[in-house]
């Protein structure tokens, strides 16, 4: 009965769309795009293996274990990622401490790391013979296994959660907290009952993005996981070790199950509560001061994590200028020679990343707006579409793209467009989470005012919502950009001789044991990515737009 009423509601809502042709058009366009560029390629991968291939999932112990391990690693890493992200976001947004520039910088670094090469840096520092662990501290620790992987994944993926959480914390007005203090609440009560509940959509959104990234990560488990079998690595190894695409597809499809669970848990936790803090009558006071010991305690913790990240990337940087990675530490510039031969690749990297991120940030914002602010009957479905690409390991999105767009009517393989589109849709979940978290804070009253004054959906979106969403938009754009510049998994099956990108070279170099050159290439990629962002910041700054990195 309840289902029928809600279905009737949905139909009624859909009928109302007739009055808003632009909104209807937008919805149709999004469904068409996501359906065509995400669902269709994924279906091609799903139907590639036969039923008997799927049966193997239940008969092989190793894969069953892999599912279990993947769920376990995703849970623990997501919790720590979110905690660290919250710490960074809180310190940067709310505390009056020095070194914020440094903190912001280290939240961007791990995003720009192509797979494998940073793992080498970790091993060099913290491995069995690690410079820090053995030679400096004299410890006999073993990084290989779930514990080492846990730490590495936390550091690698917390920035994704950070960007969402920070966007939310920054826009939570302090007025409510002052009100609570004035009524005699203790600090802890204010945190627990006022601040934390308002952070919830941000924390949940951030956790979901981090979880998707942890779940589909295959570079770190391969180098650092030791004997631990995880789904994405097992799937990839079926391709690279056994040339067995069918089994690989089965394992990749199996990844969708934990992803759907994650999605449901997250949506359940956020629930239908209201998180509105931007109501149209805004005055925000400076954050209420926290006690010194809390402030400096948090500062020290943040500093420690930042230094840890700097050490890892510093090693990578230093290694790029040494003769033989991890062995002969004498300095040289030779490793850079290779980079100059591949200027075209770097240019491609930047170009594709820029266009893909722009598209992703924009599409995600429109989608998030419709899901959050319009009752169109299929909100839950659209919501799921926004997060779906995150559940698919990049390489399978890539394989799906090849299968789907290799023949007429839409023959895209080998073009620049296919690279851009693949990166674009791969980035949607990241941008979508950010935009959603931001939107959940914007009260209906702001928009209602616009609508009452005669604006239509499009007008209110353009003139009211977009300006309010500038921060999440920019941060998701920056995130996607950095992520795309160093993305390997998605493009590995899509690039052609003319559309090769920089990460491919990094992979080729790692495969042939030229780690120093691989490190140099990575460093150049990172530097260029940051330079582009700085330039954008400067150009926009001149226009009076602040691009926060």
């Amino acid at each position: 009965m309840a289902a029928r009423t809600s279905a009737r509601e949905a139909v009624k809502e859909m009928k109302r769309l007739k009055n808003e042709p632009l909104l209807l058009l937008a919805i149709l366009a999004i469904i068409l795009f996501v359906g065509f560029f995400v669902v269709y390629p994924v279906i091609r991968v799903i139907i590639f293996p036969g039923a008997e291939d799927y049966m193997k999932l239940f008969t092989k112990i190793r894969w069953f274990k892999a599912i279990k391990n993947s769920l376990f690693m995703t849970c623990i890493s997501t919790i720590t990622c979110t905690a660290v992200a919250f710490l960074f976001a809180y310190v940067i947004a709310r505390l009056d401490v020095p070194c914020k520039g440094l903190f912001k910088f280290v939240t961007l670094l791990p995003i720009v790391s192509p797979p494998f090469i940073v793992a080498l840096s970790y091993i060099l520092l913290f491995g069995v013979q690690g410079i820090v662990t053995k030679q400096l501290l004299g410890l006999h620790v073993d990084i290989y296994g779930w514990f080492g992987l846990w730490i590495v994944q936390t550091v690698t993926f917390f920035p994704y959660a950070y960007s969402v959480i920070y966007g939310v914390i920054r826009s939570i007005s302090t007025n409510l907290e002052y009100a609570a203090y004035n009524m005699g609440a203790t600090r802890w009560q204010v945190f627990r009952d006022v601040f934390w509940p308002l952070c919830r959509p941000g924390v949940a959104g951030g956790a979901l993005v981090a979880a998707c990234n942890v779940l589909t990560d295959f570079g770190n488990p391969q180098m650092i996981g030791g004997d631990l079998a995880l789904l994405p690595t097992e799937a990839y190894m079926q391709i690279s070790g056994w040339y067995d695409m069918k089994t690989a597809s089965v394992l990749a499809v199996a990844l969708l199950i934990p992803a759907v669970i994650l999605f449901m848990v997250q949506r359940f936790w956020v629930g239908r509560r209201s998180y509105v803090t931007i109501t149209g009558k805004e005055i925000s006071l400076n954050p209420f001061p926290v006690p010194k010991w809390v402030k400096w305690g948090l500062f020290a913790l943040t500093m420690f994590i930042s230094l840890f990240i700097l050490l890892v990337y510093g090693t990578l940087f230093y290694g790029a200028f040494t003769k033989t990675w991890g062995y002969d530490w004498s300095l040289t510039l030779e490793n850079l020679q290779y980079v100059f031969l591949k200027g075209k690749q770097i240019w491609n990297s930047i170009r594709y990343a820029f266009m893909a991120s722009l598209g992703a940030a924009f599409l995600a914002m429109v989608l998030a707006y419709i899901v959050q602010k319009k009752q169109v009957g299929i909100n839950k479905f659209l919501d799921f579409l926004g997060i779906l690409p995150g559940a698919i390991p990049g390489m399978f999105l890539g394989i799906g793209f090849v299968m789907a767009f290799n023949t007429k009517p839409l023959e895209l393989t080998g073009t620049s467009l296919i690279m851009i589109l693949a990166l674009l849709f791969w980035n949607i979940p990241t941008c979508y989470s950010s935009a959603t978290a931001g939107l959940q804070q914007i009260g209906a009253s702001v928009e209602d005012a616009a609508l009452n004054l005669g604006a239509n959906s499009f007008r209110s979106f353009k003139d009211v919502i977009i300006p309010l969403l500038k921060a999440p938009f920019m941060s998701s754009f920056v995130l996607s950009f950095l992520r795309s510049v160093t993305c390997l998994s998605v493009v590995i099956f899509l690039y052609a001789p003319e559309t090769t990108v920089g990460t491919i070279s990094v992979m080729v170099l790692v495969q042939s044991g030229q780690y120093g050159e691989a490190a140099a290439f990575t460093i150049v990629l990172i530097t260029i990515a940051f330079t582009v962002l700085k330039l954008a910041q400067w150009v926009l700054g001149k226009q009076g737009i602040k691009l926060e990195l």
Binding site: I61, L120, M223, Y243, V402, S416, Q514, Q543
Partner: protein, 358 residues
């Protein structure tokens, strides 16, 4: 925000224009300039050839340069791991973009041949080769051989194991020495095809029972099993661990980088046959045939030996420098058909009796 959007859109448009105007990849750098002076005497067919290469990049470049010089055909290549290349050819089967797949064990060519991805071609140059290098159905052509080696970090070995009286390993059984406990790593045959060949090698060498006893004893020394066959090389090269088992040709490049990596070919070792195959329906199939013929010439074989650590398939080409001639390498009687038919059973047993007890 409006300004921002329009600015970004403008930038995007500029970038996409640049994308359309993007020219071709510059010709491969290297020896090109010195070579253009002397035109090759063979009849030049010209045109181009799209190669998916699982070889090292500098190896691919060397081949592309020489091939262009000899035939006038321009090679456009992309570098991929062997498995990635197979996945890609398979995914592109509806409308192939590559003409030829080169490098990687012929084991990987099997599933693609079955799927109908290859054009059969029987090169006139393969008549003198040993039978094992020629596919009876002509879908692939074997053109080099790689052997399994024991790899050792010489520096750490001398410092830590030699004083204990351990000799440099020479045989598979030497690896069972308890001195290697936790300084030896290996790859898991369930995920790494190369490690499976090493596992099967033990079965062919010692018989079923002897092999499992060997593997269980070896397991006591194994610190952990990596996922990929090649993953073991960097940790041994940098001294994170002391010894492992890897393909000689994969380790060679790392050794050339200057690491103290020693390659030892043990008695009764196994080998892989490296292949090349023509993609059915590729844009330049005729040139692909020229390429296969060319790969089997004496000159091309010599080039391959010089730029990699791979054994040639021709008798009249010498083995890689510093390696014994192929006739002197003691190869195990490796039965490829048997190895592939027992795969499932062996892997399940490996999982049940070795990995799950870790």
């Amino acid at each position: 925000m409006k300004k921002l959007l329009s600015l970004m859109l403008a930038l995007a448009m500029v970038l996409s224009l640049a994308a359309c105007g993007g020219g071709k990849e510059e010709p491969a750098p290297g020896k090109e300039s010195e070579k253009t002076e002397q035109p090759a005497e063979e009849t030049k067919t010209g045109g181009k050839l799209v190669v998916y290469s699982a070889l090292n990049e500098d190896n691919t470049i060397a081949i592309a340069d020489q091939f262009k010089k000899d035939t006038g055909i321009e090679i456009e290549y992309i570098s991929l791991g062997g498995g990635d290349a197979v996945a890609r050819v398979q995914a592109e089967m509806g409308s192939p973009k590559a003409d030829i797949l080169v490098g990687g064990s012929v084991d990987l060519y099997g599933s693609l041949a079955e799927a109908g991805a290859f054009e059969a071609y029987d090169s006139p140059n393969n008549d003198t080769l040993d039978d094992r290098f020629n596919d009876p159905n002509h879908f692939w052509q074997g053109w080099y051989m790689g052997v399994l080696s024991i790899i050792v970090n010489e520096e750490r070995f001398e410092k830590e194991l030699a004083p204990k009286g351990v000799k440099m390993p020479e045989t598979w059984d030497d690896l069972l020495d308890p001195a290697y406990k936790d300084v030896f790593v290996w790859a898991n045959p369930t995920t790494a095809g190369g490690a499976y060949i090493a596992t099967a090698c033990q079965i062919f060498r010692l018989g079923e029972d002897g092999a499992w006893e060997y593997l269980k004893n070896l397991d006591k020394n194994v610190h952990h099993y990596y996922k990929g066959a090649g993953d073991v090389i960097s940790p041994v090269a940098t001294g994170e661990f002391i010894a492992s088992i890897a393909w000689g040709h994969d380790s060679f490049k790392t050794q050339q980088e200057g690491y103290p990596l020693k390659l030892i070919i043990p008695k009764q070792t196994a080998y892989e046959i490296g292949g090349s195959a023509i993609v059915k329906g590729g844009p330049n199939t005729e040139n692909a045939k020229v390429f296969i013929d060319w790969l089997l010439t004496k000159e091309a074989q010599e080039l391959s030996v010089a730029t990699s650590y791979r054994y040639p398939v021709r008798d009249d080409v010498a083995a890689p420098k510093g390696l014994p001639a192929l006739s002197e390498v003691d190869l195990v009687n490796y039965d490829r058909a048997e190895a592939s038919s027992m795969k499932e059973t062996v892997l399940e047993k490996f999982e049940a009796e070795i990995t799950s007890n870790r």
